[in-house]
């Protein structure tokens, strides 16, 4: 049944081939589009572009830190590099990528023809795009041409009072503020759109309890976007008031508080981690069952754990601030809530293992990335639990141990999940398969590079190497570790190059995929690859969590047992 017919034969509307039309016309179609699939592709591509740019920034930093007393880049440039790297990766790589995946798949998976608000969707994308362009325009516009500093250099969380006009001269910080503010509006629009789509646009029979896991996780992600981006917007507005209207929000000399900026930023900042990681969890929850040939283990518990993560993630922010010196009550609360969030996350890990347990596992590239992500989530979670303990954090806060920990989450889980999604859904998006041979090269090189870099990055942290230093003395015992860490970057860069090559090459050389190459169970595989503009000529009717299984196996459908 692997090559089952599309569940509903799409109406064949004769379409002109893209190649036969003038380039300007094709570009125009992409720019004015409100189609969720095209916007999804645009979000994703924009994110990948930012990922490459941010990756180049990281590579320059690692080159600078590879040996002691290096002067490849100046301290000022190093400050700009880590600020731009963090901001780019979080706001303009990771978020557009997860939004792109959500945009492309949510309507397809719930049997809808588009998002709830297609034009708002386009608006959201272009706001995000504008935000990123403004941020990078700071290289030119932030007094860069006059030599008075260019590009923001205040760190991606821009602690006060460094951002006050006295210490951040010129406009580079303003580009950072306004870029994030504008992309935040776009994010809120997209979060609103995903939420409304999930609540209002589901096809016949698609109850909440039958939604694919990715849709569930994306809707919790959308909820977090709605409640968490607002605080960032508010904090950025306050910072603008301080910088331009002479306000005193974060001005300690007028009674203002620098610490409250930290609170406001991390009230956004910690849910943000879950905004990024929940879609990755959703990807794992789609890929692992299909390649284990088993339905997801503990669907209800998975959903409950997701919602629990969503709520608890709103109350853990100050674990970023243990070293600031809060009261012991505040410390105790945030230690407890941070430890508590490990429980639903642990449940998820057990459920993924439970799904694989006794399954007939095929290790396609998509599955390899997902399995690696599960294992790395465990390690990232364990260092997270260590850092959640305030006394431990006092020792290692703001050290490379923390850097290693959160890169383990962001690369080891989110980026691995995104690569998994790329291999899994590429046939649906383009109609062609990606090369598995190149995919295996990509996977193993990236895995080796990731572990060489980030496993060994914990050690200089334990040895006392603080984050954000542009160089270090040779006598500290950090040199070997830093050299190893930097070597890993080469493997990662090579792997990503292979992936990009694979994506481009497979788009015209890949094997024709057909509508359902993985023998999967969710609705998006029931329409053609790539799906027609209208997704489904006739809205599919859903009776269980695996509608496509029901269709392929009418003798043994799921709905008999659910």
């Amino acid at each position: 049944m692997a090559d089952a017919q599309p569940m509903v034969p799409p109406l064949m509307i004769p379409q002109e081939r893209e190649g036969s039309r003038p380039f300007v016309q094709v570009m125009h179609d992409w720019i004015v589009t409100v189609d969720h699939k095209r916007l999804g592709i645009m979000y994703f591509s924009y994110g990948i572009l930012a990922l490459v740019v941010g990756g180049i920034e990281a590579s320059i930093m690692r080159a600078q830190l590879a040996v002691a007393n290096n002067n490849l880049v100046s301290p000022e440039v190093f400050n700009r590099l880590f600020t731009m790297h963090g901001t780019t990766m979080i706001f303009f790589a990771a978020m557009p990528i997860v939004f792109g995946i959500a945009n492309y798949l949510t309507p397809l998976m719930i049997g809808a023809r588009d998002m709830a608000f297609p034009r708002l969707n386009a608006w959201g994308f272009w706001m995000t795009a504008l935000g990123g362009i403004l941020l990078y325009f700071s290289f030119v516009g932030g007094f860069g041409l006059y030599g008075a500093g260019s590009a923001p250099d205040v760190g991606w969380f821009a602690y006060a009072p460094l951002t006050s006009p006295a210490f951040s001269v010129g406009h580079s910080t303003d580009y950072w503020i306004i870029g994030l503010l504008i992309s935040g509006f776009g994010s809120i629009a997209t979060g609103l759109n995903i939420m409304t789509t999930v609540l209002c646009m589901r096809g016949p029979g698609m109850k909440l309890s039958r939604m694919p896991m990715l849709v569930w996780l994306n809707s919790v992600m959308a909820f977090l976007v709605l409640v968490a981006i607002g605080p960032l917007t508010a904090a950025q507005l306050m910072l603008l008031i301080d910088r331009y209207l002479g306000g005193h929000f974060f001005d300690t000399q007028a009674g203002g508080s620098a610490v409250i900026w930290m609170h406001f930023f991390w009230i956004f900042g910690h849910p943000e981690v879950y905004i990024l990681v929940l879609p990755a969890f959703g990807i794992l929850s789609e890929v692992i069952p299909v390649f284990s040939r088993k339905p997801i283990f503990g669907y209800n518990i998975m959903v409950a754990a997701t919602i629990a993560i969503g709520f608890i993630s709103l109350s853990v922010w100050a674990h970023h601030m243990f070293t600031v010196g809060m009261t012991s009550y505040a410390n105790a609360f945030f230690v407890a809530s941070t430890a508590a969030i490990a429980v639903p996350t642990g449940i998820k890990i057990f459920n993924w293992i439970g799904t694989m347990w006794g399954g007939k596992i095929t290790f396609t590239t998509a599955m390899l990335f997902s399995v690696a992500a599960v294992a790395q989530m465990l390690i990232a979670g364990l260092t997270g639990i260590m850092l959640a303990s305030a006394p431990f954090d006092w020792q290692l806060g703001n050290s490379y141990f923390v850097i290693a920990h959160f890169h383990y989450v962001i690369l080891g889980v989110i980026v691995f999940g995104v690569f998994s999604a790329a291999y899994y859904w590429y046939p649906k998006v383009t109609g062609r398969m990606m090369s598995e041979t190149l995919g295996k090269w990509h996977f193993w090189l990236f895995l080796i590079g990731f572990h060489v870099t980030f496993d060994f990055m914990h050690i200089p942290g334990i040895l006392g190497m603080p984050r954000r230093i542009y160089t270090y003395e040779a006598s500290r015992g950090w040199e070997t570790w830093n050299l190893i860490v930097s070597i890993g970057v080469i493997f990662q860069a090579l792997a990503v190059l292979i992936w990009v090559f694979n994506v481009i090459r497979s788009s015209y050389k890949g094997k024709i995929a057909g509508s359902d190459p993985w023998d999967a169970w969710t609705l998006e595989w029931s329409t053609t690859s790539p799906p027609p503009d209208y997704n489904y000529a006739e809205l599919p009717v859903v009776r269980s969590r695996r509608p496509l299984w029901d269709l392929k196996h009418p003798e043994d459908p799921d709905w008999k047992y659910e």
Binding site: A116, M201, G230, G247, H248, I260
Partner: protein
């Protein structure tokens, strides 16, 4: 395949798509509430922490008249929504105009209060922490009222030129939700700024 043979009772249909305007507005309200709550927290946190005058007790008067106008506008917009649902466009236009007028009165009153504070009491956004937090919180709310007033004006113009019909009742209710939200936020701002911390 046998897709055509599967039929599903209508009760299995999820929330209907024509509710999406309201759901979307609820989402916007959640996001806006998050923004406002941070400004409210900042106001409460900094209350009484200014190191120089003037203080709220010295310069603030409770804006009873403006508040009554704004709260009444929630009632009139509700009446207008009812009228358009029934298809009574004339009545709708009347209540809609009154809503706009009440909103504009509120804005004018806020402007007069700010004028007095700036020119007579010498309180600007950069004077002290009270000024910073007061103007930003009240200003953020006034900004939302302004956006609402622009929306009200737009729909009023459509009504005058005969563009609003009974079938638009749902969309007008979605806008009405925004206006109610702006009024509800004023309950919070009014209590925090003029009663709790004064």
């Amino acid at each position: 395949m046998a897709s055509a043979t599967i039929t599903v009772p209508q009760s299995d249909m999820p929330l209907s798509a024509n509710l999406r305007g309201k759901v979307g507005m609820w989402c916007l309200i959640v996001a806006e509430s998050a923004i406002f709550s941070i400004f409210v927290v900042a106001y409460l946190y900094y209350a009484g922490k200014s190191i120089s005058g003037p203080t709220p007790a010295q310069v603030l008067d409770v804006p009873y008249f403006a508040s009554i106008c704004l709260f009444s506008s929630s009632l009139t917009i509700w009446l207008a929504e009812g009228a358009v649902h029934r298809g009574n466009i004339k009545q709708f236009g009347l209540f809609w105009f009154v809503t706009l007028a009440l909103g504009v009165i509120f804005l004018v009153e806020t402007g007069r209060e700010w004028y007095r504070l700036i020119y007579h009491e010498g309180l600007t956004i950069s004077t002290n922490l009270f000024g910073t937090t007061y103007y930003s919180l009240v200003g953020l709310h006034a900004f939302h009222v302004t956006v609402g007033a622009i929306g009200l004006t737009t729909i009023l113009l459509f009504t005058l030129f005969g563009g609003v019909k009974q079938e638009h009742a749902e969309r007008i209710s979605v806008f009405g939700m925004y206006w109610h939200f702006v009024d509800a936020i004023w309950v919070v701002v009014l209590s925090v700024v003029y009663f709790i911390t004064r």
